[in-house]
Amino acid sequence: MDIPILSLLIVVPLIGAIATLFMGGEKQKYAKVVAGVFSAITLVLALLVLFADDMGALAESYAWIQTSAIAISFTLAVDGLSVLMVFLTALLVLLVVILSAEEEDRPNYFHALLLAMEVGLMGVYMAADYFLFYVMWEVTLIPMYFMISWYGGPRRHYAAIKFFIYTHVASLVMLIGIFAMAFEAAQITGTGVVDFAFSVINPAIAGASEMFQVLVFALLFFGFAVKMPVVPFHTWLPDAHTEAPTGGSVLLAGVMLKMGSYGIIRICLEALPLGAEYWQWVVIAIALLSIVYGAYGCIAQTDLKKMVAFSSISHMGMVMLGIGCLSEAGVTFAIFQMFAHGLITAILFMVCGMTGHKVGTREIPLLGGLAGRMPMYALFMMIGFMASLGLPGLVGFWGEFPVIFAFYEFVIANDALWLILFCLLSLMLTAGYYLWAMQRTLFGPETTKIDLTHAHDVSKTEGIALAVLVVLVAFFGVWPDAALSFIEPYVSALANMGVVI
């Protein structure tokens, strides 16, 4: 096909962002329409990519900064790993636009920020050049910062700055790693040109010493681990989520956290397999810690959104665990879990975010018996919670069961069967905190601690956004192969490269 479809995936939201940005004053009520149109076009493009006959043929490459000393290109490519994330990004942005149709406060800026974030996210997921990857990585940061600090809750400035600095420091560490790789690769190839393209660096780095790989893995892993986030680098996340507006939270948890795990697979595994092998047990220890710690963290929270934020830590730990197994099954289902968690957590944040402006508070002890007054709200919340706790037949189960199974295979091979107990404990805890939260918010006697007279059920636009997600959660739950068919070729390619066994 001649249409540069991947570039369009970046350019369309960019145009949309600029267009909505300048729709101040009278025109700002049309901003959502414009944003909707642009994000819908992006989703169509993403679907075209998803159903393309040959994804590899879509790759594009343009020279960007080319001198005698460095070569930076604008190279985009998609494969089984990125295409799901691209689809998820396009989908969630459109749904957030639909969900935020009632945003009253400067809607033009809000939608411009959303679309700008989409630009960055698309760039990260499609970049095939380390420099472009880094630039896009940072591009996602800025709209998110403004999203939190302009549209957030009462402690928004603290949260926004914490989010920005924490993740920015991490990405600087990552940048050092990228530079180290680029210069080492230039030395190994001996061309004297520091080329940042994946296709140049990855094969070159394969020849680097183990020590080099181990060190660079640590740098990059730190950068990605903070983004995911994993314990103990997670504390920015609950704060950011508590303060972020609903739409921002959905994107933050739904696709932005996935940047971290995406980076680990795309860079740490593909380019630095020896490093991955060296750090394997550390990765697994961190993953197990995140899973259990995140689950315990959830139980103690009183803010619904904060609880869901902690559950993200636990579930992203599951992704990390799958990656840490370094087996085909582990990585395949870690990617599936990324996708599944993106869908589920979007529902959760939409519903929990709604709670704030529908009944006035998200504090669980103040709520109770909402199901009677808000049946649709209760229904969506329950589906989200059930999917998240891994109810079989919904998508979350296929992220959990096979990952733990992959881990089981790993511990059997390493004679450490007791480690599986952590996973099983977390399954129990996950069910515990979700059910306890439901019992206290949806069921039981209707609360008298807050005024519920103005509480209203899910509106039509919100209902559409949620229903789409629920249908997808059920669809992929019944037919996981629909997503696995994209992932499997990618992972078997990794296996052929000897990255995973």
């Binding site: 089981y408 515990g432 192969d481 078997s492």
Partner: protein
């Protein structure tokens, strides 16, 4: 020609669920007729399939059909399939599950008639539940089964919590329902997590979860037997949770907070049987190790006994039935465990002795499944009768009933039939199957280990207690002087409710005779060197009749049952015997222990609060103070350091110039010193 449509059996209720959810609100009875139609169609299809299968050529070999669902990649791929598996056990299960569901859905039209918009939710949830139950039964592999297993768990949660908000009886009742629903889900979840762990081991060892692969003796011989034993222990953990066995039994009495129809369908007739079904289904794997089977049997026996004790002094009509359900489930598990123990022993022996043990043991499977079916009929009947009573008098407390027999003739009679059946009165269905259970337990004690003799004694005592508490319930409800709730009684329930009662009463009386007409062949268990076969065994026929009535132990149980009924009559109908005399008027230690359910709820609470919330509070403290404290501390140090340094920028030119001068002086002195040291100047 029908078997290839087995997948329709769970699919029809699923379609009904969607229909009820989407358009049910606009139809009469809010979708109730869809639910009935779905269950009925499933029953008809199940009946056709069963007929075709049982008369077909392949019988007793299972009919398996599956498609590849997805693959977990590995050095050898782990293939997960989706399909159906039909054998004698499947036929038995899907027949009685869909049949009882149909009746209960019809009953619901009357029982739930006054619930308004909520009915929509009710019918959607029960249809989804039926999908789960039938799907579980026809699944062709453990993972597929596990999915339906959990779908049922979800429905159970939803239906226990049916009144968890806006309860017609007020806030306390909604809070109670919400808490009961959570407890049921979490306690069974504990079992499910064990089950899942067991599945990991099976999948890891066999590279498949298909029944047809797992039940192949050649494959079983090839795997690590220690891991297999561990897997079966873990899978039995799932059974303990789902079938409410000791020590995870305590959720079931609480689950009575749901509508009575739900208690009848899910918490008596079908879902709780899923655990028993799982043991029966996994028999080829369970019997690989006698220790596992001993464990199964002991858990079953202990559960039967403990649950029966708690039913003795309960005043809530539904809770008495709930305890008796747990107790009867214990019987089934005991039968399967005892029989399996003998089979396992027999498989370890050579020659005729081993073969004899296997033959003797396979009666355990028959006893367990037979009791499962009979119990489904009479317990569904009992629950629906209690529902009819509750519907009429508006309370569940038996002290406020009494003398209802005059007002509700059909209900009292059908409930009497159910009670006689469960008490093991001769020729009623419970009599036949309970006797088989006791017999296999005794045989396992005789040929195997003394543990089963202990279990047999417990089971005999349980049989006595069962007769006593069931008739205590019946007499307290229908006989004696009229309680004050009876005086406001609406009279007999509508026809939609009494019709299912009558049908079930016929079955609760008569289903036991099926054993004389070859039912035992359908669920028999045969061990051959290259296969484990369910069904197709030799039908005992009237041999059972002869066997039962020539055994002295049969008369022992009959006498015990009659004594139990007699004591209940004296205490609660004739009132010549004062129950208070036996328990110091409710002050005795034992009475209190029973009221407190042997402190199990307290134990659960302690564990969940200490291990769950207590640790969580600690983690949260660490998170806030140490982990986040470090982060904030670091940023504080940077900001604070900046603040401290910024003090230097006072804005006074004089300060700046002083510093410049000082600096120059220091540099000059340094220069001179360095120059001196270096030997310059």
């Amino acid at each position: 020609m029908f078997i290839e449509y087995t997948w329709l059996v769970p699919l029809v209720p699923m379609i009904c669920f969607l229909l009820i959810g989407l358009i049910g609100r606009k139809t009469p009875e809010k979708g109730g007729y869809f639910a009935i139609a779905g269950a009925l169609i499933s029953f008809v299809i199940a009946a056709l399939i069963s007929y075709e299968y049982l008369t077909g050529d392949t019988y007793p070999n299972p009919v398996v059909e599956s498609i590849q669902w997805f693959v977990i990649p590995g050095s050898t791929d782990f293939v997960i399939n989706l399909g159906y598996y039909v054998d004698g056990l499947t036929c038995l299960m899907m027949l009685f599950a869909s049949f009882i569901s149909t009746l209960i859905f019809i009953y619901s039209i009357g029982y739930m008639g006054d619930q308004g918009e909520r009915k929509n939710r009710y019918y959607a949830e029960v249809s989804l539940f039926l999908t789960g139950m039938l799907g579980l039964v026809v699944s062709s592999n453990f993972l597929e089964m596990f999915i339906f297993w959990e779908v049922m768990g979800l429905c159970s949660y939803l239906l226990i919590g049916f009144w968890s908000f806006r309860h017609p009886e007020g806030d306390a009742a909604s809070a109670n329902a919400a808490s009961a629903a959570k407890k049921a889900f979490l306690v069974t979840r504990l079992g499910d997590v064990c089950l899942m762990a067991g599945l990991f081991i099976l999948l890891g060892e066999f590279h498949s979860l298909d029944y047809s692969t797992l039940f192949d003796p050649a494959n079983i011989a090839a795997v690590d037997s220690d891991m297999l034993t561990l897997a079966m222990f873990l899978i039995f953990g799932g059974v303990i949770g789902k079938s409410a066995q000791f020590p995870l039994h305590d959720w079931l009495p609480d689950a009575m907070a749901g509508p009575t129809t739900v208690s009848s369908l899910i918490h008596a007739a079908t879902m709780v049987k899923a655990g028993v079904y799982l043991v029966a289904r996994g028999y080829p794997l369970f019997i690989q190790n006698a220790e596992v089977m001993l464990f199964v049997g002991v858990i079953g026996g202990v559960t039967a006994f403990i649950a029966a004790t708690m039913a003795l002094n309960n005043m809530n009509i539904k809770k008495v039935l709930a305890y008796s359900t747990i107790s009867q489930l214990g019987y089934m598990i005991l039968a399967l465990g005892a029989g399996g123990y003998l089979v396992a022993l027999g498989m370890g022996m050579e020659g005729a002795e081993g073969a004899a043990l296997i033959t003797a043991g396979s009666a355990g499977m028959v006893a367990g499944c037979f009791h499962m079916m009979n119990h489904a009929f009479f317990k569904a009947l009992l629950f629906m009768c209690s529902g009819s009573v509750i519907h009429a008098v508006g309370t569940e407390d038996m002290r406020e009933m009494g003398g209802l027999g005059k007002h509700m003739k059909i209900t009292s009679l059908t409930m009497l039939i159910g009670s006689l059946s469960i008490a093991g009165f001769p020729f009623f269905s419970g009599f036949w199957s309970k006797d088989l259970v006791l017999e296999i337990a005794m045989e396992a004690g005789h040929d195997g280990t003394v543990w089963f003799t202990v279990m047999w004694i417990l089971a005999i005592i349980t049989a006595f207690m069962t007769a006593f508490y069931m008739f205590r319930m019946w007499f307290m409800t229908f006989m004696g002087e009229e309680g004050h709730a009876t005086q406001h009684c609406h009279g007999e329930s509508p026809k939609t409710m009494t019709f299912p009662l009558i049908v079930l009463a016929v079955l609760a009386f008569g289903s036991g005779f099926l054993i004389l007409f070859g039912l035992d062949a359908m669920v028999s268990f045969t061990v051959t060197p290259d296969a484990f076969i369910v069904g197709g065994g030799e039908a005992g026929g009237f041999h059972h009749f002869e066997h039962i009535f020539t055994s002295p132990y049969t008369y022992l149980t009959i006498v015990l049952a009659l004594v139990g009924i007699g004591i209940a009559y004296l205490m609660y109908a004739k009132k010549t015997m004062n129950p208070g005399a036996f328990n110091k008027d409710g002050e005795s230690w034992l009475y209190k222990a029973l009221t407190k359910r042997w402190w199990f709820p307290d134990l659960y609470n302690q564990i969940s609060w200490k291990l769950g919330y207590g640790v969580a509070r600690g983690v949260n403290f660490i998170d806030r103070q140490i982990v986040d404290g470090t982060v904030n501390g670091l940023s504080g140090a940077v900001v604070g350091g900046g603040d401290a340094l910024s003090k230097v920028q006072s804005g006074h030119v004089q300060d700046y110039s002083s510093i410049v001068l000082l600096g120059i002086s220091v540099i000059s002195v340094l220069f001179i010193v360095i120059a001196k040291v270096m030997g310059g100047i």
